[in-house]
């Protein structure tokens, strides 16, 4: 029927995009960066007991310029928000953000003037991880879900198209502050 049938055995066909995603998802470089108690769980995640080295992620980069994943581990204060945004801006593309714990996701128990009510106010978040603080197992789970997302990230022309698509959808949709009744 197609090319596949004429292939000798032992040869696998795929797209470059798929291969790219496969490689990329296995090579995260998280930024070294913790804000509160969630960071302790994040350290445990990298330590021998939970050992993120099992899937090649044990190296946290000390410079945002060498990192492509930002794990926001802890509550973000108003004073810290511009700092966090600067770290995000210094990271090269492509980059992802994981909001770890309820405080980073929504402000959590700190519903007061000092804390940003969700880090999505200042950086785009790819994965929200609930818990106060989440166990390292939950971080592993969130990381694998994020890996799945990264695996299917389009590249090249597809990436441009996808970005335009997303922008169009976001322009049409009401902003998050206007969306009501969606939380259960």
């Amino acid at each position: 029927m197609g090319l596949e049938e004429k292939l000798p055995s032992g040869v696998l066909l795929t797209t470059i995009e798929n291969l790219f995603g496969y490689m990329r998802s296995a090579a995260f470089w998280p930024a070294t960066f913790g804000l509160a108690c969630c960071a302790i769980e994040m350290m445990t995640y990298g330590a021998p007991r939970y050992d993120s080295g099992r899937w090649g992620q044990e190296v946290f980069r000390a410079s945002p310029r060498q990192a492509d994943l930002m794990i926001v581990a802890g509550r973000v204060s108003q004073k810290m928000a511009p700092v966090l945004r600067q770290i995000y801006d210094q990271m090269p593309n492509p980059k992802w953000v994981l909001a770890m714990g309820v405080c980073a996701s929504t402000g959590g128990m700190f519903n007061n003037y000092a804390i940003v009510q969700g880090v999505d106010h200042i950086v785009p978040v790819d994965m929200y991880l609930p818990g106060c603080p989440p166990r390292p197992e939950m971080l592993i789970d969130a990381m694998f879900k994020l890996r799945d997302k990264v695996r299917h990230t389009p590249i090249g022309l597809d990436a441009i198209e996808a970005a335009q698509d997303q922008e169009q959808r976001q322009l049409e949709a009401p902003s998050l502050i206007e969306q009501k009744g969606l939380l259960r």
Binding site: T106, N111, Y113, A114, I177
Partner: protein, 332 residues
């Protein structure tokens, strides 16, 4: 306070040393001691230490009794007053306050009853809006008195008088400048009229007998019940030369929250005044750049005021809301 630490450390050592009479002093105020004493013999303000010294030396015991009625009336510093200079007016004011009352809570609980002249601003009941029956929070029965300690009249004792008299020498109309002096828990507070503050702090810093070189903190307090003086700014001054600490308190009405800045005298007050402005909305005239320091520039309101809502900040995500705690536990 650092001087509170050394007395607690060597209680065992002191039992040995208490045989030497010159090293045992009358019971000092809590955490308020002469430097030599705290390093050499370290008499402690705690209960056990005072009883021990009473056992050993009867003469000291008498003196300590005379000094005892005012807890914290002996200032720290190089010149501790002897028993004769102890002002009778002060001892008469609160005779029931026992020297044995070491715990701060105990002291606070007694203040309301033993100091008749303490100005009671407000009595608060409950917490987080809980009222009446159906209260499962356990905070419904809470009663808290908001009060100002009674003003003191000279002589205050020790270096406090030296400072006060020196200010009087430097500023002829000092009774207009310092409207009230409060001695509470061994610390002295001068209540200052706001228009005279820059002049006063300049003298406090530069005069050789005062030398309060360091302004360690500027804080704000909001007393909504203190009508006409809702906002207070509190300056904590320290003299490195003489090892003394005083406090200045300036009160302004909420409708006109202007205080002259002391940055010209104490550059370290720069960020402290910005923080006090940020949190309380007190405007420090003459400050080089009075902007918010902690909150975003466009933040509405001043978060540390008592009328600022507790929480209730909108999450702004798909209509999520968290009610403030004072509205969360309402059962009626």
């Amino acid at each position: 306070m650092t001087e509170g630490i050394p007395p607690r450390k060597p209680p065992r050592k002191r039992t040995r040393k208490s045989a030497a009479p010159k090293q045992v002093r009358p019971e000092p105020a809590e955490g308020q001691e002469d430097d030599g004493a705290s390093t050499a013999s370290a008499p402690s303000a705690d209960k056990g230490a005072s009883t021990r010294s009473e056992d050993v030396h009867e003469d000291v015991h008498e003196e300590s009794d005379e000094k005892a009625p005012i807890k914290g009336a002996v200032p720290e510093g190089e010149s501790e007053p002897d028993a004769e200079t102890k002002p009778e007016s002060l001892t008469a004011e609160a005779p029931e306050v026992s020297s044995e009352a070491t715990a701060a809570e105990e002291d606070e609980a007694q203040l309301a009853t033993t100091e008749p002249t303490a100005e009671v601003l407000q009595v608060r009941k409950g917490m987080f809006g809980v009222k009446g029956t159906g209260d499962t929070s356990g905070y419904g029965g809470l009663t808290r008195t908001v009060e100002f300690p009674a003003p003191a009249t000279p002589p205050f004792g020790g270096w406090w008088d030296q400072v006060y008299e020196r200010i009087g020498t430097l500023i002829p109309n000092y009774s207009d400048v310092i409207t009230k002096v409060v001695i509470h828990r061994g610390e002295i507070t001068f209540h200052v009229e706001r228009q005279h503050l820059p002049e006063l702090v300049r003298y406090l810093r530069d005069d050789a007998h005062l030398r309060f070189e360091f302004c360690s903190s500027v804080s704000g307090v909001h007393y909504p019940a203190d009508k006409g003086r809702e906002l207070h700014a509190v300056y904590h001054l320290q003299s490195m030369t003489h090892n003394r600490r005083i406090r200045l308190e300036v009160s302004v009405p909420d409708s006109d929250p202007h205080i002259a800045s002391v940055v010209a005298t104490y550059p370290t007050a720069d960020w402290h005044e910005r923080e006090t402005y940020d949190m309380f909305g007190i405007i420090f005239d003459g400050h080089p750049a009075l902007t918010r320091i902690l909150m975003p520039d466009d933040w509405p309101g001043h978060p540390q005021r008592k009328d600022y809502p507790l929480g209730g900040i909108p999450v702004e995500y798909k209509g999520a809301t968290v009610p403030p705690p004072d509205q969360r536990r309402s059962y009626s």
